[in-house]
């Protein structure tokens, strides 16, 4: 019995020691991993600046990365792009995951804080501000990805405090869509008065109705929301004048102002609307539904000296900054691939509903009329820079409330304009 007890004691001692050794080894690894992590951070920055240049051929890459997008981009095009890249880099696996826009911000930040963020994210540029504030994005080194050919307006939407945090992938804005079956292209409205007269003549117009969706009309009356220094500088008279026009347009039976863009789209697709103020992003679906090239696109009506100024926004690629060097290399290479001139040109030709941010891309207007119209509209569009997004997040909700009140007739357009200016300034000062 004594011998058994001794044997058991020895075994338990050995097992305790083994566990202790294993534990110490784990902790040692953890400590080393931390210093490795610091080392990796250093290596990554030197890796980015030293080893990769735009013109150097990519080394054979292998590994997997995760790409998120919010489901609003063309799925076929994105799959094709991924396949094309994987043909060049067969050892790279790209997992594509759709995360709806409503949960994108929350889920991204939550996963980023755990180290589980995607390697690359394709989303609207206005979300970038929150990502930058959370210190979750990697600044793009111009030596790695050429930013010189990007449209300046698009570049302002990815630049914050002189650092570029994203790569514009596509630019969108609003245009006037029309049904070619019902509208003669020689009769397209050029001014706001043309809209009213065509409406009286029986043509139907669908206009998305919200402060943001009707922003395009402010510039017609000489308004600007921010000056070049990013200061809030809206002239109350211009917005009031625009609201006055909208109020009068609303009284015409053939002009439909609706907050439901989906309903307006459906109505236009069914042929119940002749004109529709559409977002460029929906052009692809509208083309599919209105078969046989029945979709026409023209710039929004304005005034000769003051054209319409719809909002211009970019779909951007951002790269979070918490993964391994191997994943970083793949991500940067992939980002370079999908934003290169050939890929963008191809995408623009295939989909035909966005403006490529590379200013060197020129598509023949005779072959791609929709593209040409989009580019023409973009020249007058209002691109709110990234640095001004926090201000718009304050101003636009105020604007929306006053917009509804003016349209309902609760307050007059002039009162609304003054309130907008006053409340916005108060809110910005706080």
């Amino acid at each position: 019995m004594n011998k058994d007890n001794i044997t058991m004691k020895i075994k338990s001692l050995i097992s305790i020691k083994l566990r202790a050794i294993f534990l110490i080894a784990l902790l040692f690894l953890a400590a080393c991993s931390n210093s490795v992590e610091n080392q990796i951070q250093k290596e990554r920055s030197s890796f980015q600046t030293k080893n990769i240049t735009q013109n150097s051929p990519s080394k054979r890459l292998s590994g997997s990365i995760l790409l998120w997008h919010d489901g609003t981009i063309n799925e076929d095009q994105s799959q094709r792009t991924v396949r094309n890249y994987q043909q060049i880099n067969p050892d790279v696996n790209i997992i594509v995951e759709i995360v709806r826009k409503e949960e994108l911000l929350k889920r991204f930040l939550q996963q980023f804080r755990a180290g589980l963020s995607p390697n690359i994210l394709l989303t609207d540029y206005d979300l970038m501000f929150e990502f930058i504030r959370a210190n979750s994005l990697m600044a793009i080194d111009p030596k790695i990805i050429n930013l010189g050919d990007i449209l300046p307006t698009a570049l302002t939407q990815v630049t914050y405090q002189d650092k570029v945090y994203g790569i514009p992938g596509a630019i969108f804005t609003q245009v006037l869509c029309y049904n070619k079956n019902k509208v003669n292209k020689n009769q397209l409205p050029q001014t706001l008065d043309d809209i009213l007269s065509q409406a009286k003549a029986g043509y139907t117009f669908g206009i998305p109705s919200s402060f943001e969706d009707t922003f395009w009309g402010i510039q017609i009356f000489g308004g600007k929301i921010f000056d070049d220094q990013g200061r809030f500088s809206l002239k109350p008279g211009s917005w009031a004048a625009w609201m006055t026009w909208l109020q009068s347009a609303k009284t015409l039976p053939n002009i439909i102002l609706s907050s439901s863009i989906t309903a307006l789209e459906k109505s236009f697709m069914q042929g119940n609307l002749d004109y529709f103020v559409c977002d460029a992003a929906s052009i692809f679906d509208l083309k599919k539904t209105l078969k046989k090239d029945n979709l026409g696109v023209t710039i929004l009506p304005g005034q000769p000296e003051h054209p319409a100024g719809p909002l211009l926004y970019s779909k951007v690629l951002v790269i979070p900054n918490n993964f391994s060097p191997r994943q970083t290399a793949i991500t940067l290479d992939f980002a370079r691939f999908i934003t290169n001139k050939q890929q963008q040109q191809r995408g623009a030709m295939d989909i035909g509903s966005f403006i490529p941010p590379n200013r060197k891309i020129r598509l023949d207007a005779r072959l791609f009329p929709i593209q040409a119209t989009l580019e023409q509209q973009a020249r007058n569009a209002v691109a709110i820079p990234l640095r001004d997004i926090p201000q718009t997040e304050i101003i636009f909700p105020i604007g929306e409330t006053l917009y509804q009140q003016v349209l309902e007739g609760t307050i007059s357009p002039n009162e609304g304009g003054e309130q907008l200016l006053k409340l916005s300034r108060q809110a910005l000062q706080q």
Binding site: S12, I16, R19, A20, F22, L23, L26, L27, L29, A30, S33, N34, V36, E37, I40, G63, S64, I65, L66, N93, I95, E97, V99, Q110, Q111, F112, R113, A114, G115, L116, N119, N322, F323, S324, R326, Q327
Partner: protein, 457 residues
């Protein structure tokens, strides 16, 4: 396999790929290692502590086998066993997290680990507190069969939700059964969910039994039989609800099984017969757990009523028999506890012819009256039953409310009776012969000097 099935498996494969993408990252590796290190350290500490305690208090080895709630100083050991690890674990992860935050490292996984550790601590506190109300055997049985699976499911759900849209994952259709798509969530619900439902019903049954038999308001056997019916009903209900929720196509299933019904009918005839007999027995209330019956000449106690068979304990050798329920329908058997648990016993005793029968009867009745287990109502009776060869035979009949103690009571009575007879000079005769010599030859031989050894008459 259809395209949609391929896509479903692709989604699942991608989920696995994503896991490897994350684990490749240094920030994730360091956090996971830190958590694993803390857990391992706490496990070792707990084992060491418990090992030392068992050496000092050997009775801890049987602590979990006790069949009564623990409400004395031994409860401290329950708390040590259950709470040492989670407390150390939670504190350890918290300290690591503070350090991580001071260095501005990515700490999301550590925060998550702390959340899980706190939840686990709450789970342990809950089950530790149950030892005050229920026996360790019961608590640990349901902790490992019910509590632990739920804990694992919740933790797995939270872990997977960290990096996946779990609703989407569960909604993915992985196969088609009888023409209906079956999602991953459906498979999990119909397997794990059904298991947990059945165990949960068992817990509910147990709790209800405790409530119903508090203060002996209800006979245990009747309560158990009733609860068994409720249990079968709830399980059937659970099966119907779960399969209905999952979208199980009952029509297709019925069509397929309809074709097999003839074969199934023949093959499972006995099973169905036993099942239906079991249900009928429960409804009738003829047999309940605790009843005493006579079967194949042996007295047996009903231990458990099942849906196919009934388990009985043979009293004489404590063995168990498993009897198909159908037997109770086709054979005759005797139950000693059918209407009530009162059973009649009798003791037959012989007293000498010189003892006053009235006196003997009074002694017998007094004896019965003094015994604590003999019922006063119906009252005991004593009879003179026969003038036998060697003694006058008497019978004492009495009633007991516990059929299993008859032999013990008879033994007590017999011993006490001997004592009282001795005090009252009453003889308990044993068989004897008086020889009376009646012939002349015998008499003359005796006067001539031959001696006879004979009893006097």
């Amino acid at each position: 396999m259809s395209n949609s099935s391929n896509q479903n498996f692709t989604y699942l494969l991608n989920a696995i790929h994503k896991f490897f993408i994350f684990v490749e990252r240094p920030q994730v590796q360091t956090q996971l290692l830190a958590i694993a290190g803390v857990i391992l350290f706490c496990i070792m500490l707990h084992h060491f502590l418990w090992y030392r305690l068992k050496q000092k208090f050997p009775y801890l080895l049987i602590l979990w086998g006790m069949d009564k709630p623990i409400r004395d100083q031994r409860y401290g050991f329950v708390l040590i066993s259950y709470l040492t690890f989670p407390i150390f674990n939670t504190v350890g992860i918290y300290l690591i997290l503070r350090f991580w935050q001071s260095q501005n490292y990515i700490d999301g996984l550590l925060k998550f680990g702390l959340e899980i550790a706190t939840f686990h601590f709450g789970y342990r506190v809950f089950f530790a507190s149950l030892f005050l109300l229920f026996s360790p055997v019961i608590v640990r049985k349901y902790q490992f069969s019910f509590g632990l699976p739920i804990l694992i499911i919740i933790i797995s759900y939270k872990v997977i939700s960290l990096a996946q849209n779990i609703q989407y994952l569960l909604a993915e259709n992985v196969l088609s059964l009888f023409g209906s798509p079956v999602s991953l969530g459906g498979i999990l619900l119909s397997s794990i969910g059904l298991y947990l439902w059945c165990v949960g019903v068992g817990i509910f049954q147990h709790l209800l039994l405790q409530l119903m038999t508090i203060g002996n308001r209800l006979d245990i056997g009747s309560a158990q039989a009733t609860l068994l019916l409720i249990r079968y009903f709830l399980i059937a209900l659970g099966v119907v609800l779960i399969f209905g929720y999952v979208g199980f196509n009952a029509t297709a299933f019925a069509a397929i099984t309809g074709g097999l019904s003839v074969g199934l009918g023949f093959g499972l005839k006995e099973v169905f017969s036993n099942f239906v007999s079991g249900i009928c027995l429960l409804f009738e209330g003829v047999l309940r757990p605790g009843d005493l019956i006579s079967i194949e000449g042996d007295t047996a106690e009903i231990k458990k009523l099942g849906i196919r068979a009934t388990t009985v304990r043979i009293v004489k050798d404590n063995s168990e028999k498993i009897i198909p329920n159908q037997s109770f329908f086709t054979d005759t058997f005797t139950t000693f506890t059918g209407s009530d648990r009162i059973i009649r016993n009798s003791l037959i005793i012989g007293a000498g012819y010189d003892a006053n029968p009235q006196k003997v009867i009074e002694i017998l009745l007094a004896l019965a009256d003094d015994h604590i287990h003999i019922l006063k109502d119906p009252k005991p009776l004593a009879f003179l039953i026969a003038f036998a060869d060697s003694s006058i035979n008497y019978e004492l009949t009495f009633y007991l409310d516990d059929p299993t103690i008859g032999k013990t009571v008879k033994s007590d009575l017999s011993r006490e009776l001997w004592q009282r007879f001795a005090e009252n000079d009453i003889e308990i005769p044993f068989p004897q012969r008086d020889i009376h010599i009646r012939s002349h030859v015998a008499s003359e031989q005796s006067f001539s000097g031959d001696t006879f050894s004979g009893d006097k008459d």
